[in-house]
Symmetry: C2
Subunit: 259 residues, 2 copies
Amino acid sequence: MGTVAKALSLLDFFNRARPAIGLSDMARLSGMNKATVHRLLTELQAQGFVEQTGSGREYRLGPAFLRLAALREAAVPMRDLAAGVLADLSAATHETAHVSLLQGDTLITVAFAYSAHHGTRVAMDDAEVLTFHNTSSGLAVLAFAPAEFTDRALARPLEKRTDKTETDPARIRAALTDIRRSGMAQNEGGFEADVHSHAVPLFDARARVIGAIAVAAPTARMTPDHQTLIQHELRHHALRLTRLMGGFLPDGFLVGAAA
Amino acid sequence: MGTVAKALSLLDFFNRARPAIGLSDMARLSGMNKATVHRLLTELQAQGFVEQTGSGREYRLGPAFLRLAALREAAVPMRDLAAGVLADLSAATHETAHVSLLQGDTLITVAFAYSAHHGTRVAMDDAEVLTFHNTSSGLAVLAFAPAEFTDRALARPLEKRTDKTETDPARIRAALTDIRRSGMAQNEGGFEADVHSHAVPLFDARARVIGAIAVAAPTARMTPDHQTLIQHELRHHALRLTRLMGGFLPDGFLVGAAA
DNA sequence: GGGACCGGTTCAATATATGAACCAACGGTT
DNA sequence: AACCGTTGGTTCATATATTGAACCGGTCCC
């Protein structure tokens, strides 16, 4: 691993639950020497990628991300595009809709939309990391990812988050075959009990999978009619979003019941 | 310069006018060897900090910034806080208001708000880089920055953007003395002709200057009464924002006519 | 077919990163 | 108040990662 990769990997230890990290903690988390971590953080700090908190001397993510994220959005307005499509999709289905995109080996939620129609709704967190084996979005991605990517994802330990979480790689692979055939992934209660979600993959200009768009609803609301509606709308808006982002469907991808 | 700093400095070559850069161009821009640039970009790409465009093979900013900016905002909601204060400030003054923050040696606009009151308004760009010598925000920051920082800023070549741009370091230093006394910077037509702006510095928890909040109005509208209103509101909201962000005013800072 | 680009690769020379040991400072315990 | 286990930060000989000239093969334009 190059020095740059090491430095940037430090940033991955920040999350919602741990917004600031001390030098020694960071050294422990990363397994690197304290002096090394210190030097890397100092360099990141000089560029505004991390900064030290006023009170303690802990490090946290820096202000440079505001500027760079704005520039990224100016260059590639994926988030804006996703937000527009999600607003329509959640309005049409009366459920929570979200888009998650691959970033290296992880799947990150980049945008979501709630429907105001029901009192109960599935809640989402911005910038949440999704696992592959127990979310509909994750399965949708795995089904269309390169075999070597899928192998790596399923070789990792698979957390049993709920009673219904499937953790047997062989059975997951069998499910992926169905997903490839139907062009749509489902997951009932595998991530959160009582949540039934559907997801369709998204593709880039080279027809490679880049993420997924999903609708998550309380299991109690998932009548056959509602499911039919969700699947129909999801296919339609997934295709729309892929096209908006300049992507193409891979050969043989089933658009199915889509408009 | 360490390897990490070199890699991150490549990201600074992206901007609104140049959202994607080829390998050879990047090598020229940065003055580094093509092989070096390639290795650095490859490492940045593995972490999602840059990606290659579908069509050409140019590099552009990657999706990682969406996630990290969201986490930064979750940890330090400066942008949200600024947006709220700016909405009030622009409503009270009927003019464009914006907040710019220091990031290393540059001043970046992170948020702004327009007033719907007038047909003409001063337009802003998100993530715009402000110069120090010919913007009210820049002058407000320089006046309260460490002497060594100010020296560095004024030692650089000072662009004469308009007829009215002051480019004489000695005269600028004299203006800074006044700004330190009044706690407010002004700039009339030095950045854009026909724009008269006022700015007040913002401070962090250690009473160090971190940026400025400003109101920009067409010169034609700047009557004495309007100016008095703007100065009053600006002082009030600057203090409010500094406090919201957990900052403190340095000893002797004039709150002046503020509420 | 030639020439000038492009993105990307190679490998010996060398500049850079690394980590054990070391500070000084802080906060709690005895 | 001496002790202990922390903390963030520093040092310097060692070792490892970085560097850059030259070199690909491809593509575009004459």
